[in-house]
Amino acid sequence: MRRVMSYLGVYKFSIALGTLIKVLASVAELLLPIVLSHILKNVVGSESVTDIVLWGLLMVLLSFLACIMNITANRMAAKVSMLFARRVREDLFKKSMELNAKSIDKFTIPSLQSRVTTDTYNVHSFVNMMQRIGIRAPILLLGGVVVTLIMDPFLSLTMIVLLPPIFVTVYFISRRGVPLYVKVQGSVDKMVGVVREDAQGIRVIKALSKNEYENNRFDAVNAGLSQDEKHAGTVTSVVNPAMNLFMNCGIIAVVALAAFRVNGGKSDPETVIAFMQYFTLISNAMMGVSRIFVMYTKCSASARRIAEVLDAQNDLVVDQTLPSTEEPYEIVFDNVSFSYNGVKEQLKNINLKLKKGQKLGIIGATGSGKSTFIKLLMRFYDADEGTIRISGRDIRSYTREELTSLFGVCLQNDFLYSDTVSENISFTREANIDEIMKATQIAQADDFICNFAEGYEHVLTQKATNISGGQKQRLLISRAVLKKPEILILDDSSSALDYKTDAKLREALGREISDSTVITVAQRVSSIKHCDVIMVLEEGEIVSMGDHEYLMTNCPEYKEISDSQMGGAFIE
């Protein structure tokens, strides 16, 4: 909480001024019942209509001032909290973008998403409410108690007795409500899950005539949801009637005790009327205070989650003092081993030397470590053992800018977003339309792009659901080849292309960016058989390495895959 709240420091003057205005507004509101009681007690006795009107107008004036000052203070609070939230969110997003792969694995992407959105929102509204109710409620509460103590300490004490039960009722019931509504949300998710599955699997369900089964499955979650909602509602519905009852009991107690006080000449009926006004004020303030406590619980959890990300350490340190070696190779893997969690090794003793301009192919079953190899080369993770060098320099000595500028990448399940085709290809880098068109020609994407009515300005949907898998891959390859990178990485990025297009793509790559070192990860032998070096991976280890002809005679695993793929792909 403190970490996140430190962002408020800059605004302390603004907050102080806002608080002052809020205090003045609350004082004006507190004065109202005093004036009211004064009119009834003293002014009416003076028998002057003018006086009554004047005192009455004073009340109007006070109400008006309170209103204006409250609005002003609220607006200042809104501004401060807006500026605060903007900065928190800005930093949080920036930090999330800079997290290393290990931290991202630990936080998980959905969790990062909810930290940037929901958690920041929670903290924002808390800071906002805090400056509004958070200041107003305690002042009204305290001021109300003080004023009533001065007016009539005895009557005042009877009201004060009622404050703890009000607090307890609102605070504890609301707090009990929170987990109940979390449970409701869980049930809603379950219900939505079944509907989603049903909508997506409707063909299977109809084919197997499983309507009854599905209806029963839904009925179970539906009934569960109703039950949870009923439970949560039944518990939280206590708050309002209970609050009203407490408030009214206070008024009753005041009236009953006032009878004795007035009889003894210690009080007067006009004070009782003022007390009724105060009591409404005070108990509403009490309710506000208890709400703040509830909000605090919610907010502090969110604040903690935000702080976790802000404080995350970057353990991928750049060490520019690492020695560099003269060697005739562009990429060197020197006995590299790696494991994500320290238990199962994803890569074991990888050795590789690749000259500039050479083409490397990697093939192997799912989970054999192909993508991990790529991730290590790009330094998403640091190897546990061994070193990786690019142009003789340990990759740990490259700054991030240096390193990323070397690569053009197309990863598995890669990222396309809701923007134009050309924006998705240039991917925020500066590129003119000629460069982009050149890239799409290499990637065999220009044909279908030109078929869009808006051409390169065609807007993709989120996750690019409005284009086919093969089209997606070709856009991603366009992005990767745009700047003619030194090292081009294609991780399973032509799997959805038909043989003809794949062949054309390979041909274009060979022609247009022959200087680049290319690493191709593929399932399909035909995608890599032309590579200078092919690495066959199994369970994180290199089974064999060599060109196609060599592997066909010396590597049974490779031959098996190749033979099975006699016959190509027709997708697209």
């Binding site: 809603v188 109703s226 990222f415």
Partner: protein, 610 residues
């Protein structure tokens, strides 16, 4: 996460509330009323509680005013009267409080009953809808109806309905009490009510659109953040974090501007309501003070309408609050009701959706299916002028394999959909064992097929339940055998909970390929005489595919099979290969025949050796 996003996006767009015309509103209202009246006992109980609870709450100030008058008695405090009124107040408030709680619980019960039924109706309707409905409507849209729209109705029923009844009763009741106290003082409302109305207008015209805009802006910001975070590794790979962060800041700034703008104008709401309350108290003090002064010095006689006591003034203050509250809230409630009607209308539209046409009367019997399928001159299109399939004819003999190849969008999957009657043809016919499938019972027709599709559809349940889905009475041994045949048994056994492992949405523990193997195991369990494989092994890697080839061959054995595949090795062995381009069959025959012909098929086949 995504489910939430869909719903959120929907939520925001729903907020741009389409106002219903009067006729539709009437219809929707009538239909909603029917749901409420189904539980008329609870509803009448609720009305009684509402009236009683409010009546008692209204009587409270009356007794307190009387008590003050008794205290302010000229001849000293009238204790008997004070006691009487205090006890009456206590009774009124306690009973009123208890009733209010029971009422709240009753309404929750009532609305939950209704909402439960609605969700049930919507869901059960979904399963009877033709497949085309799901092609035309996104999952997000359907989910938004069953969750967000139903929830809107829920909150209206459980909360706003009572508030409407309470408001009307309180406003009228408070007015009657105030008339009884002092008619001249009512003149105050000539000022406060117009102020309230202006205030309400400000709220609905100025503030509400701003809040809608702010919700939308936040939705966009969240959408952007979620989208970009999902691509964080690519962004880092290209080193473009700074540019993306800058863009995020632009979204952030504009969302925060909208947020602030809404807050800026919204900041007047709370103080505004307080001001109206305080204003009316001040006015009561001025007028009430004057009248009280003349009443207590005897200028105004007790019988005059201008007469007022101290207790009367006090009562009037309390009643004026009760009177003003609902009036301030009126616009809000109206808005809620409108949202509720639009939500209900959307739900009713789904419930009224045309289901799959019923089976013909006296359908032909379908037992012991042999599996001979004859397709004759088939034409199909969603609209008659735009045909997706044109003049398709072929015959699949029992136990033989038909392979369908062609570019994406050529209509391959549409043929499958027609075979299983997910769609019905515009003209032409499909016959199964010599019987037109339009005259067969749908359920039995579909049960004659087993299928493996490209989308690996599994539901959140255990692996066992998922494999058994096609044949509920299958024994565990049968399930294991099917899993073994699909080469997934060992993997399942290696999981900590084995066959009882839950398949969850995020499915971290199970890869896409493994999911597909599970669906293959599901198909293996079935004893249907016909088989459909639509890109069945597209997610399985080559080495695994080699391993399950034998199993697939076994699956196809003895079954009439329709295969859409991208690996030629499967297609090569088919008894009949159909090449579909642009909705028509351009080539057909065996592998050898088509290779000899030298058309599209042979060109594709040869391209792999380039």
């Amino acid at each position: 996460m995504n489910s939430k996003l869909d719903v959120n996006v929907k939520k925001y767009s729903n907020h741009s509330q389409e106002k219903l015309d009067r006729k539709t509103t009437k219809k929707v209202l009538l239909r909603l009323t029917k749901y409420v009246f189904k539980h008329w006992k609870l509803f009448i109980l609720a009305i009684i509680f509402t009236l009683a609870s409010n009546q008692l709450a209204l009587m409270g100030p009356e007794y307190s005013g009387n008590a003050i008058d008794a205290i302010n008695n000229k001849g000293g405090v009238d204790f008997d009267s004070v006691y009487y009124n205090v006890v009456m107040m206590l009774i009124c408030y306690i009973i009123s409080g208890v009733l209010a709680y029971i009422l709240a619980v009753t309404m929750i019960k009532l609305s939950q009953k209704i909402v439960y039924t609605m969700r049930k109706e919507v869901f059960e309707k979904l399963n009877t809808l033709p497949v085309t409905y799901f092609d035309k409507n996104t999952t997000g849209d359907i989910i938004s109806r069953i969750s967000y729209d139903v929830d809107t109705i829920n909150s209206t029923l459980s909360h706003d309905l009572v508030q409407v009844m309470t408001s009307v009763y309180t406003v009228v009741g408070a007015l009657i009490f105030m008339i009884r106290i002092s008619i001249p003082m009512l003149i105050i409302f000539c000022i406060t009510v117009p102020v309230s109305i202006i205030f309400t207008k400000y709220r609905s015209k100025k503030v509400r659109p701003l809040f809608r805009k702010r919700t939308r802006a936040l939705g966009e910001l969240n959408g952007f953040a979620e989208e970009m975070l999902s691509g964080v590794s690519t962004i880092r790979a290209y080193g473009t974090e700074d540019v993306i962060s800058k863009r995020f800041n632009e979204h952030n700034n504009s969302a925060m501007d909208d947020y602030y703008k809404a807050d800026y104008y919204g900041a007047a709401l709370g103080p505004g309501v307080n001001f109206i309350n305080n204003l009316s108290v001040s006015m009561i003090m001025i007028l009430g003070g004057i009248l009280y002064m003349f009443s207590s010095n005897g200028t105004v006689a007790q019988a005059s309408i201008f007469f007022i006591t101290l207790g009367g003034v006090s009562k009037f203050v309390l009643y004026s609050r009760k009177f003003a509250g609902p009036i301030n809230e009126f616009a809000n409630i109206l808005h809620e009701l409108q949202s509720c009607f639009s939500a209900a209308e959307r739900i009713f539209r789904l419930i009224d959706e045309e289901p799959e046409p019923k089976d013909v009367e006296n359908p032909l019997p379908l037992d012991n299916v042999v599996g001979k399928v004859e397709v004759k001159n088939l034409n199909f299109g969603y609209t008659a002028d735009k045909l997706i399939l044109k003049n398709i004819s072929f015959t699949a003999d029992p136990g033989k394999t038909v392979a369908i190849v062609g570019p994406t969008g050529a209509g391959k999957t549409t043929i499958i959909n027609l075979l299983m009657r997910f769609y019905d043809a515009n003209s032409g016919s499909i016959e199964l064992d010599g019987k037109n499938i339009l005259h067969l019972p749908r359920k039995k027709l579909r049960k004659a097929y087993t299928m493996v599709l490209q989308d690996t559809w599994l539901f959140s349940g255990t692996i066992l339940e998922n494999i058994r889905y096609g044949k509920e009475n299958a024994t565990f041994e049968e399930v294991c055998a099917a899993a073994k045949a699909a080469k997934i048994h060992n993997f399942i056994e290696s999981l900590p909970s084995g066959y009882n492992t839950m398949i969850t949405d995020d499915g971290v523990n199970i890869s896409k390929g493994q999911k597909q193997l599970i669906t293959i195991a599901r198909a293996m369990l079935s004893d249907a005489p016909m088989l459909i494989l639509d890109e069945a092994t597209s997610n399985v890697d080559s080495r695994t595919e080699i391993k399950i080839q034998e199993a697939m061959a076994k699956l196809m054995q003895g079954r009439t099979s329709f295969v859409i595949a991208h690996r030629l090795s499967t297609i090569e062995k088919a008894d009949l290969i159909l090449v579909i381009e642009g909705g028509t069959i351009t080539e057909s025959g065996t592998h050898a025949q088509l290779m000899q012909k030298g058309g599209f098929y042979s060109a594709l086949y040869n391209s792999q050796y380039k």
